[in-house]
Every structure is written in structure tokens, then in C-alpha cells.
């Protein structure tokens, strides 16, 4: 294990909520500098132009409208000029709005994409033990809902920045009209921001809870639909519906709570600018009575407040997204800052055809459990000469899967060593390891891709990819070529999500073909033929044996005695340790536990035979 090389560059944010919020915003924006410069510039332009609308309107009122309606305007051309000025501002404003939205969208989408790339890189880098200690659902939501939460703030952010610019320009513009009107109008804005802050304080916990419940509802649905066959066969639809309904009702209550908070604050926040407008009218009237200001000044100040009613809310949106964003970011950061990938080795294995010799010395594997670490394997020592076929046999839960997973270094032992051709597997270069060792797992995993890609695991244009002839050879050896040939698209047939278009046995055989096409030097079959017909299984295993001296070393977890009989040797594993190793005949003679396993069916059928005869008598 090794620490992340750049420990100073952690994804997690530090400090109080304000500091972390600013960090979140700054990191996002500085990761897309070009986009955010443009977004900020267009947003600022939008802010300035919004104020300009009210300014031009005010000027037009004083210089054109009031004189014209009073019959004091001589030149009608000034009416058209005022119109043209307003039109110019309108066009600029519209362009600024478009720019603001487009750049905000680009920034938001790019940050989201960056997060997703980073998170999935970790998924592919971190070891299996890390994967096993994190539920699948959580990892999927890290890459989807959490990324969305962490980036949600960047959608309204440029808008809010534009509003800051707008407030600055508005202050200057209002001060030029009249100090008292300016003070009146501007006093409303801090109030509006304050109202938004209070709103967020109530809103954030409510929204977080609703979000959590939404995820819970999805979890229940996911689990329940996955259990569909079981639910149907036990007739527990109603029970499931009630389980789901209980969560749904909680979500409903949480959503209503969110709605109520919004329902109370929305009118308050909307009311403030309107009340401000009325206040400006009052103050404006007094100032007009004092002869300090014209109608235009009052109108532009009042109009400005109505224009700013919606934009001021952008602060609320940003502030509202921040708590959710911090939670989302924290979750992603836990993935990004996770360490413990297996350190890759550097030793190159010579490219060779023959089998690999396998040796395990005093291997122990433990997993963290409730009462301290639990040993899954202990004191395991065994040796498999190159080119031999060994069956690993043992009762359910003996540790067979863990044992074979060490061979392709899906995990490292807590102590002891695993040697391939005498080289510690931890020192072997990962490329050589995946070239020479092929593992077929208990549950065949297929990608949503074509038959060919599922066998080669390479892109079509990859020059090192096995050619179609090699793919067909592997399919033939795995006895699945007939199935593929029957598909209209042949090797190009898509297999659906997780290979949903195939039966369990067909999936297993495709997975075996995937291992065989690599012509591995060590083939590890972890009960890889459980869903395959026994006769077909025999053909597959016999086919492997026929490869003779150039064939691989085979380590297989097996239940069927027919498969075990094809092995040169048997390793009997029980309760995490090797009980015995030898030929089938040897173990049968000296290992009672093995005898029970090996002759279970035979004895059972003899027992039944005896019973039947007894009854017959």
C-alpha cells in the first residue's frame, strides 16, 4: 500500500462552512479559467445593462415624456432618439443574458465532467478491498447525485456575480439621482439579502433531509425490483408496497416541509422590492416637493427596484446550493482522497508459452469484522508445478474464492507470499500479470458491448487485439461458438446490460472464452462453470487438457467430481486452511473430510438404493 503521492493536494475542503464554501467556488471557477472569465464579464455586462434600462428610462421620462405630454416638446425626433437608446440597451442586455447563460452552462457542465472523470479514475485505481467495503449504490450515487450536488452552485453563480456588478452600478446611478432616494432604495437590498440568508438557514436542513429521503426511496425501489422474482414467488407484493409507501410518505412530509418554508419566505422576499418601490415614491415625493428631484429620478429608482427583484434572488440560489454542494463535495472527496491501491510491481516475466508455477507460503488473509479482524485464510502453503491442473475443493464458506483471488492479485495477503514462477506476485509488473494470469470469477461479468469486445476486451482499432479467428477459437474451446453463430450479428451482436440477453451458462462460457483468448499461462476458474451443463463442462475442461505441454497451469474451484477427476491434483481447503493436497485417490484414502465431499452423491444414491430394497422386501 502506498499513500497518494500528492498528499498536500487533497480534494477534501477544510475550515468552517464559509471558508469551505469559498474554497468550493474558487476551485471550480479556477479549474475553468477561460469559461469563468467570459461568464463573469457577460454577467457584469448583464448587471450594468439592467441598471442602464432604468437610467435611460429615467432620462427619457425627464427629457422627453414629461415635456412632450406637457406640450413643451418641440422636436419629435427626440422621442425616436429615446426609443433608439432603449432599443440599443435592450439588444445589449439580451446578448449579455445569452452569454451569461451559455458560459454558466459550459462551466457547470465542464466541472461536472471533471468530477466524474476523477471519481471514476479512483474507482478503477482503488483495490477490490475498497470496493467491497463500499456499497455499490453509494459508489454509483457518488458519480451521479453527489457530483450534481457538488456542482449545483455553479449554475446560478455567474448570475449572482452579475448581480454584484448590478448593485455596484445601481448604487452609483441612484446616488447621481438623489442621496435620499438612493439610501431608501439601497436599504431594501441588504434586507432582501438578509431575508434570503434566513430563508437558507431554514431551507438547507429541510432540503437535505428531502434529498436523503429521495435517495432512500430509490434504494428501496432498486432493492425491491431486483428481488422481483422472490417477491412474486413468496407473494409479498403487498409487504413490499407497504415498505415503499412508508418511505414515500416520509418523503412527502419532507417535501411539504420544504414547500412550506418556501411558501412563507417567497412572498416575503418578493414583497421587499415592492415595498421598497412604495418607499421610494414617498421619499421621492418629499424630495420632489422640495424641488430636489424630478419625476424621472423617482421613476428610474422605482423601476430599478422592480428590475432587481428577481436578480437579487440569485444570491439565495447560490446560498441555497452551497450546503448541498458541500455535502456532495465531501462525499466525492472521500472517494478522491481514498488511498490504498496495490502498489504495482516492476518485475517483467519473460514472455513464454508454458504454464506458470504457483506457490503459496504461509498465506494469511483477514478482513475487518465486528470483533476485530477475521481470518479468512491462515497458514496456507501449497505448490502447483507448471502446467498442472489443480482442483480446489472444500465446503461452502471454506475460503476457496479468497484463495484463488490471490493468484491474480485481486488482493494481497496480510502475511505470507504468493509466488508465480518464483517471483512474488507483488513484484510482478501488472501488464505481465494480466497477460499471463486469467481469472474467471464465480459471477461472470459481461460489459454492455458486443460479443467480440466482451471476449477481447479491446477496442476494434487496437492493433494488439486478438483477431476474429482467435476469438472464434476461444469461443469454440468454451463451447459457446454455436450460440454466437446463431446470433444474426455474430461477433458484433450486442449483449445488453450485464449480458442480459444471455442465460447464466452462456454468460459463464463467454467469460471463459475471454480468459482463453489471452492464452494465459495460469488459468484460474472460480466455480466458473456452475451454470454450465455438466456435459459441456466436461468438454471444456477436456479441451483445456488437450493443449498439452503448451497448455496453462489451471487452478479451479470445483464441486463436480467429474471436474475434480480431470485435475492432476486436489487441494482440500477447510475453514481457511489446507487440510490436504494430493491426487484424488490419495485424498480419498487418507482424508475423511474429502471423502465425505467426494462420495456424497454416491453414498446418497447407495443409501437410497438400500432403502428401496428394504422397502421391497
Amino acid at each position: 500500500m502506498r499513500a497518494r503521492p500528492d498528499t498536500t493536494d487533497r480534494a477534501a475542503l477544510s475550515g468552517g462552512a464559509v471558508r469551505r464554501s469559498l474554497q468550493l467556488i474558487w476551485r471550480g471557477m479556477s479549474s475553468q479559467p477561460r469559461t469563468y472569465v467570459l461568464a463573469v464579464v457577460t454577467s457584469a455586462l448583464f448587471g450594468a445593462m439592467t441598471v442602464a434600462v432604468s437610467q435611460v428610462l429615467g432620462r427619457a421620462t425627464d427629457d422627453v415624456v414629461v415635456p412632450a405630454l406637457a406640450g413643451e416638446l418641440d422636436d419629435r425626433r427626440s422621442v425616436w432618439l429615446a426609443g433608439a437608446a432603449l432599443l440599443g440597451v435592450a439588444v445589449t442586455l439580451a446578448l449579455a443574458v445569452a452569454g451569461r447563460r451559455i458560459f454558466a452552462g459550459i462551466g457547470y457542465s465542464d466541472i461536472q465532467a471533471d468530477h466524474r472523470r476523477a471519481v471514476t479514475r479512483q474507482y478503477l485505481r482503488l483495490p477490490l478491498s475498497w470496493h467491497r467495503s463500499h456499497p455499490t449504490g453509494q459508489l454509483l450515487s457518488n458519480a451521479s447525485a453527489d457530483v450534481e450536488a457538488a456542482t449545483g452552485v455553479f449554475n446560478p453563480l455567474p448570475f449572482a456575480i452579475g448581480v454584484v456588478a448590478m448593485m455596484g452600478v445601481a448604487t452609483v446611478a441612484l446616488l447621481r439621482v438623489d442621496v435620499w432616494i438612493a439610501v431608501t432604495a439601497l436599504s431594501v437590498l441588504p434586507l432582501a439579502v438578509l431575508a434570503n440568508l434566513v430563508f437558507q438557514r431554514y431551507m438547507s436542513p429541510a432540503a437535505t433531509r428531502a434529498q436523503q429521503l429521495r435517495a432512500d426511496v430509490a434504494d428501496v425501489a432498486h432493492e425491491s425490483f431486483e428481488a422481483a422474482l422472490l417477491v412474486k414467488s413468496l407473494g409479498t407484493e403487498q409487504r413490499e408496497a407497504e415498505r415503499f409507501a412508508a418511505r414515500t410518505q416520509q418523503l412527502r412530509a419532507a417535501n411539504v416541509h420544504v414547500g412550506t418554508v418556501r411558501a412563507v419566505f417567497d412572498p416575503v422576499i418578493e414583497l421587499l422590492p415592492s415595498l421598497g418601490t412604495l418607499l421610494v415614491l414617498v421619499v421621492g415625493a418629499y424630495r420632489a416637493a422640495a424641488g430636489e428631484v424630478g419625476t424621472g429620478g423617482i421613476v428610474s429608482a422605482a423601476y430599478l427596484l422592480t428590475l432587481m427583484a428577481v436578480p437579487v434572488r440569485a444570491f439565495g440560489w447560490v446560498l441555497g446550493e452551497l450546503p448541498r454542494g458541500l455535502v456532495g463535495h465531501d462525499r466525492i472527496a472521500r472517494v478522491l482522497d481514498a488511498t490504498g491501491e496495490l502498489e504495482p510491481g516492476t518485475h517483467r516475466l519473460p514472455a513464454s508459452r508454458g504454464g506458470l508455477a504457483v506457490e503459496l507460503r504461509d498465506v494469511e488473509v483477514a478482513v475487518p469484522g465486528a470483533g476485530g479482524p477475521q481470518r479468512i485464510l491462515h497458514d496456507v502453503s501449497l505448490s502447483v508445478p507448471a502446467g498442472r491442473t489443480v482442483a480446489v475443493v472444500g465446503v461452502t464458506g471454506a475460503g476457496k474464492t479468497t484463495l484463488v483471488s490471490l493468484l491474480s492479485r485481486l488482493q494481497d495477503p496480510a502475511s505470507g507470499t504468493v509466488l508465480l514462477d518464483g517471483v512474488d506476485v507483488r513484484d510482478v509488473h501488472p501488464q505481465d500479470l494480466t497477460r499471463d494470469v486469467a481469472l474467471v470469477a464465480q459471477n461472470a461479468f459481461l460489459f454492455e458491448d458486443t460479443v467480440r469486445a466482451n471476449v477481447t476486451l479491446a477496442d476494434e482499432d487496437d492493433p494488439h487485439a486478438p483477431d476474429d479467428e482467435a476469438v472464434w477459437d476461444a469461443l469454440r474451446l468454451a463451447r459457446v461458438d454455436g450460440v454466437v453463430r446463431a446470433l444474426p450479428e455474430g461477433l458484433d451482436a450486442p449483449l445488453g446490460e450485464r449480458g442480459a440477453n444471455l442465460s447464466g451458462g452462456q454468460r459463464q462460457r463467454i467469460a471463459i472464452a475471454r480468459a482463453l483468448v489471452r492464452r494465459p499461462r495460469l488459468l484460474v476458474l472460480d466455480d466458473a462453470t456452475s451454470a454450465v451443463d455438466p456435459r459441456v463442462e466436461q468438454e471444456i475442461l477436456a479441451g483445456l487438457r488437450r493443449q498439452g505441454v503448451t497448455g496453462p497451469t489451471v487452478v479451479m474451484v470445483a464441486y463436480r467430481m467429474s471436474s475434480v477427476l480431470l485435475a492432476d491434483e486436489v487441494v482440500h481447503l477447510h475453514a481457511g486452511t489446507v487440510v490436504d493436497q494430493g491426487t484424488h485417490a490419495e485424498l480419498l484414502a487418507r482424508d475423511p473430510g474429502y471423502r465425505d465431499l467426494a462420495t456424497a452423491y454416491q453414498e446418497e444414491s447407495e443409501r437410497r438404493g438400500a432403502l428401496v430394497e428394504e422397502e421391497a422386501r
Binding site: T61, V217, L229, L234, L275, L281, A441, A493, Q506, L597
Partner: protein
């Protein structure tokens, strides 16, 4: 492609209803949506009227106070604005009430929609569920409903208020100047017309975003679910490339959608402000003729603001509406997909007791697929232990599905104690006939919780001790007490999500104990012990023999040890029943069974 294995009925991806019919059907499913709607609308009208308070106040203050003959009258302004402020507060209160009422009714309605869709997914036959991606089914009861809720709560309120606001503003504008009102409408109408196709493009773009997000999540999930395979084969880089491509495609779709939205929205801004310029010019020119006061013209400018806001907003709301309708269609698509296996109105309860199962001329084809069973006649006497053997794909599992009525035969009938299964109430059928599927699915929780799941409990829900005793008893009766004893944590052991902390074989043991506690009259075991070791399997088989004495079992197995132990062996080949009889008799016949058994013996010895 046509599926290779089991092609079932595709769940209707969406309903084919039009927008209005979708809304109608949606309300029909969730009548709560319309709870108290009359009062809500009345309150909304009040809230909308409140919006014109400010423009009216502006007009009155300017005309009667600020520009009053003889100079500004400040006192009158104070009176006017005080009245206006009271109006604003009242309107605000009305608006709050509208929001709360809409949230209450919409959430109640959507909870109903969610629950009904969820229940219906379970009611759809096993065939439908098999072919539909589970992720997409989940989204029907989660994100699709969320889309509707987003619209109903945000868009619905805004649309209601906006329409009212436009109406009230138009009325008031007409009072001030009909000419300018015509002008404003003339300017906005083309926008509304142009916006419609633009909105359609926006919603197409969002559809693409959703599709790409789905594909991206699929690619990402492979890196999690397939972690073992990816490591074992060193294909991290290729997997990353696939994910990166999907991430990039999603990003591009999002940006494309955002650009379209920006164009639509900013054209609204453009028109709104252009109208402002038009009103100033036209209003002034009209005013010169004496038909306009300054106050009225200014009030008009404020009213245009009231008018343009909602029209801009409406462009966004209509997007939401389209999303909501699309989501609604998908959810309705689930609810309106006919469940193939349902209770007939005249269904009868099947009384408990030893079950006698018959198949008469049963044929079956998965929808759109070839026949997988051909004219099967079988008589499975009560109390008989029946083993079904045959090669992979011969139709064994289909037989199990028909006997448990996870599907109905295309032709012929399955009879339980002489009654057609289609006429037996599902509740009593599931009580009597229980299937143990090959893949022992476990829920997140403890072993005990999983075993007790589905048991017709004789203990009370919070009596864990009684439950645990029953669970331990079940394991003991199956001869699995020592396995439980060795399990870290015993029956309190946490099995993890989908039981992933146990091995496939261990999951099957738990599933078997669960089926045992369900105490059925007839047990159908579909390779239920395929992943356990031979010694354990034999032990379980013996235990089951004891436990099911006096009851019937139908066991599907490719280990012939099961057949040796059965009273009756059914040999299936390519969808036909080719041999039926006791093990010994079939062994003596020169048929496929004898050959299979010989091969099996060769494998086990």
C-alpha cells in the same frame, strides 16, 4: 437485437397519450392533485391582483400627487402608498397560502402515483420485469415522479400566477390605453409563436441529455460492478476511455441544451425590452395628442414589466411542463401496462392441503419468441417428489414458472387440485405454492430478517426473540445449525447489500431457510442448491425430504442425485416431455434418462 434467452414483453416505454390526455389520466390516477383547487385558485387570483398594486400606486402618485397642479403633494403620496402596502401584504399572504396548499395536494397526489407505479411493477409478470432494465424501472418511481413534482410545485404555481398576472395586467393596461395594449400584445404574440418550436427543440435537447446521462451511468456502473473483472484483465484504461467518452457526450449534450435555453430566454429579454422602447415612443406620441397622462404612461411601463416577466417565465415553465408530461407519460406507461398475470374477478381461494398439480396440453412461447414448451401433459400427484431433468435451455425453468404462475401458458392449462391456476386467487396460490429461484436474493439486513421475510409470522412484529427462535429452528431442521454456528455473528450477521457479504452458496442456504419458514404446500426448487458443495447439498436434500414429507416438491436440477431421490422423474428435451416415471423404471428403459444417468455416474465416481 432479438434476445437470445428470454425475450419478454417490453414494458411500454411511454404511454402514447397526448399532452392533455396525459394530464387527465395523471389527475385520474392522483385525484389528490385537485384537492381544494377552487379555493387555491381564488387565492391565486388575489395574489395576482396584488401584483398590479405597485403600477397603480405609481400612476396615482405621479398623476395626482407628484405632478399635481401646484406642485408635489407629499401627504397624499403617504396615504396612497400606505393603502398599497396593505394590499401588497394581503396579496403576499394569499400567495403563501397558495403555495402551501399546492404543495400539500401535489405531494399527496405524487406519493399516490409513486406507490401505485411501484406496486404495479411488482404486479407485472416476471417476463416483463426480466427484459426491462431495472435501473429504468427504478427511475419510473423516482426521477420521473420528481420531474412531475418539480413542475407541479414550482412550474404549476408560477404558471397559474403568471397566467393570472398576464390577464390582470392586460385588463389594467386596456383601462389605461387600448392602443398601447394592442401594441404590447402585437409585439409579444410573434414571440409566443416563435417560442413554441424553440421550446420543442429545447425539450428534445433535454431528452438527449437524459439519454446520455443514462448511458453514462451505465458505463460508470460497470467500473463498480465489474471491478473484479476489470482488475483481473487489466482493462482499467479501456474502461476509463469508455467512461470518458460517455462523460464527454453527456457534457456536450448539456451544453447544447443550455445554448438552446439561452437563445430562447434571451429572445424573451430582447422582446420585453424592445416593447419597453415601443411603449415609450408610441405612448409619448399618443400623449402628445392628449390621450395619455405621464402617470398612466409610467404605470404602463411597470405593467409591461409585469407582463414580460411571466411571458419569459412561461417559456421556462413550458419546458418544465414538457419534461413533466414526458415523465408522467413514462409513469403512466408503467401503470397502464396490463399485468399479464392477474386475479380474475371470479378467482377462488384454493384451500390448503396436499397439492395436486396437472399440466394439460401446455405450450409456451415468450412473447415474440419461438415456442419453448410444446403440448406438455403431466400429472404430478399430491405428496409426490418430482425431479425435472434435461439439458440447459430444454424448458425446465419455464415449467417452474408456469407451475408457480409467474406466467400463463400460451395454450393449455395448469391445474391446482383440479382448478385452472388462472382461476385461483393469487394470494392463496402464493401461500400454497412457493418457488425458490436459483439466485438466492437477499435484502440488506441480517440473516434472521431475510429468513423471516415471507414467513406467515405467528410471532408479533417486534418480538425479535420469537422470530430468532423460528429462524434458528428453520436452520436446525434443514441440518444447517452448524453452518449458522460458524457464521460470524450467527443469524444476526449482516448480509450486506443484495447479500454480497455471503458467497453464492451461502445465499442459497439462507434462501432455502426462508422458503422453509414460508411453510408452503408445494415447493418448487429451481436449482436452488446449485452453488453449494455436494456434502451440504446431500444433507439439505435429506432434510428437505423429511420436512416436505406429505407435501409435494418440484425440483429442477442438473445434478441427478436429486432425480435418484425423487418419486417421479420428468425428462425434458427441447421443450417436450420425453420421459416420465420413477428413477428405477426410467433407468431400465433405453431412453435419454439412462444415458444421462450413465454420464452422471461417470462424473461422480
Amino acid at each position: 437485437m432479438s434476445a437470445i434467452h428470454e425475450d419478454g414483453v417490453r414494458l411500454r416505454t411511454t404511454s402514447t397519450l397526448g399532452a392533455r390526455a396525459t394530464l387527465r389520466r395523471g389527475v385520474q390516477i392522483s385525484p389528490q392533485l385537485l384537492d381544494g383547487i377552487v379555493l387555491t385558485v381564488v387565492l391565486a387570483v388575489l395574489a395576482a391582483v396584488g401584483r398590479v398594486v405597485v403600477p397603480i400606486a405609481v400612476q396615482l402618485t405621479v398623476d395626482t400627487a407628484i405632478l399635481a397642479p401646484g406642485g408635489p403633494v407629499a401627504g397624499r403620496v403617504v396615504q396612497l402608498t400606505a393603502v398599497a402596502a396593505v394590499g401588497l401584504v394581503l396579496a403576499g399572504a394569499a400567495s403563501a397560502l397558495v403555495n402551501i396548499r399546492l404543495f400539500r395536494s401535489s405531494e399527496a397526489g405524487l406519493a399516490e402515483l409513486r406507490t401505485r407505479a411501484f406496486r404495479h411493477v411488482h404486479d407485472l409478470s416476471a417476463l416483463t420485469q426480466n427484459t426491462e432494465r431495472r435501473g429504468s424501472l427504478v427511475s419510473r418511481v423516482t426521477s420521473d415522479v420528481d420531474t412531475i413534482s418539480l413542475f407541479v410545485q414550482w412550474g404549476g404555481i408560477m404558471l397559474l400566477v403568471s397566467v393570472l398576472q398576464i390577464t390582470v395586467a392586460t385588463v389594467l393596461m386596456a383601462v389605461y390605453s387600448w392602443q398601447l395594449t394592442v401594441l404590447v400584445w402585437a409585439a409579444f404574440l410573434p414571440l409566443m409563436i416563435v417560442l413554441r418550436p424553440a421550446q420543442r427543440r429545447v425539450s428534445v435537447a433535454y431528452g438527449t441529455v437524459r439519454e446520455r446521462v443514462g448511458a453514462m451511468l451505465g458505463a460508470i456502473s460497470e467500473s463498480v460492478v465489474g471491478a473484479e473483472t476489470i482488475r483481473a484483465y487489466g482493462v482499467s484504461e479501456r474502461t476509463q476511455r469508455r467512461i470518458d467518452r460517455a462523460v464527454r457526450a453527456t457534457r456536450d449534450a448539456m451544453v447544447a441544451a443550455q445554448v438552446r435555453v439561452a437563445v430562447v430566454f434571451s429572445s424573451g429579454v430582447l422582446v420585453a425590452n424592445t416593447v419597453l422602447a415601443l411603449v415609450v415612443v408610441a405612448g409619448t406620441l399618443l400623449g402628445i395628442d392628449g390621450s395619455m397622462t405621464t402617470g398612466r404612461l409610467l404605470a404602463f411601463l411597470f405593467l409591461v414589466q409585469l407582463f414580460t416577466g411571466p411571458v419569459q417565465l412561461a417559456t421556462e415553465i413550458l419546458n418544465e411542463l414538457q419534461n413533466a408530461i414526458a415523465g408522467w407519460r413514462r409513469v403512466i406507461g408503467v401503470i397502464d401496462t396490463r399485468a399479464e398475470v392477474t386475479d380474475l374477478p371470479d378467482a377462488v381461494d384454493s384451500p390448503r392441503g396436499p397439492a395436486h398439480v396437472e399440466l394439460r396440453g401446455v405450450s409456451f412461447a415468450y412473447p415474440g419468441g419461438p415456442r419453448v414448451l410444446h403440448g406438455v401433459d403431466l400429472d404430478l400427484p399430491a405428496r409426490a417428489k418430482v425431479a425435472v431433468v434435461g439439458a440447459t435451455g430444454s424448458g425446465k425453468t419455464t415449467l417452474a414458472k408456469l407451475v408457480t404462475r409467474l406466467a400463463d401458458p400460451s395454450e393449455g392449462a395448469v391445474l391446482l387440485d383440479g382448478t385452472d391456476l388462472r382461476r385461483v386467487s393469487l394470494a392463496s396460490l402464493r401461500r400454497r405454492v412457493v418457488l425458490v429461484p436459483q439466485e438466492g436474493f437477499l435484502f440488506e439486513g441480517t440473516v434472521a430478517q431475510n429468513v423471516a421475510y415471507g414467513a406467515r409470522a405467528t410471532w408479533s412484529a417486534d418480538d425479535d426473540a420469537a422470530r430468532d427462535a423460528a429462524v434458528l429452528g428453520a436452520f436446525a431442521e434443514l441440518g444447517l445449525a452448524d453452518w449458522v454456528a460458524e457464521l460470524p455473528g450467527g443469524i444476526g450477521a449482516d448480509v450486506g447489500q443484495r447479500g454480497e457479504r455471503l458467497s453464492a452458496g451461502e445465499r442459497q442456504l439462507v434462501a432455502l431457510a426462508r422458503a422453509h419458514l414460508a411453510d408452503a404446500d408445494y415447493l418448487v426448487l429451481d436449482e436452488a442448491t446449485s452453488a453449494v458443495d455436494p456434502a451440504t447439498e446431500v444433507r439439505i436434500a435429506r432434510a428437505l425430504d423429511e420436512l416436505t414429507a406429505g407435501r409435494g416438491t418440484l425440483t429442477i436440477a442438473h445434478r441427478l442425485s436429486t432425480a435418484e431421490a425423487a418419486d417421479l422423474v420428468v425428462v425434458v428435451d427441447a421443450g417436450h416431455v420425453v420421459q416420465v416415471g420413477p428413477h428405477r423404471r426410467l433407468l431400465a428403459e433405453d431412453g435419454p434418462y439412462a444415458a444421462m444417468h450413465a454420464a452422471w455416474l461417470a462424473q461422480t465416481r
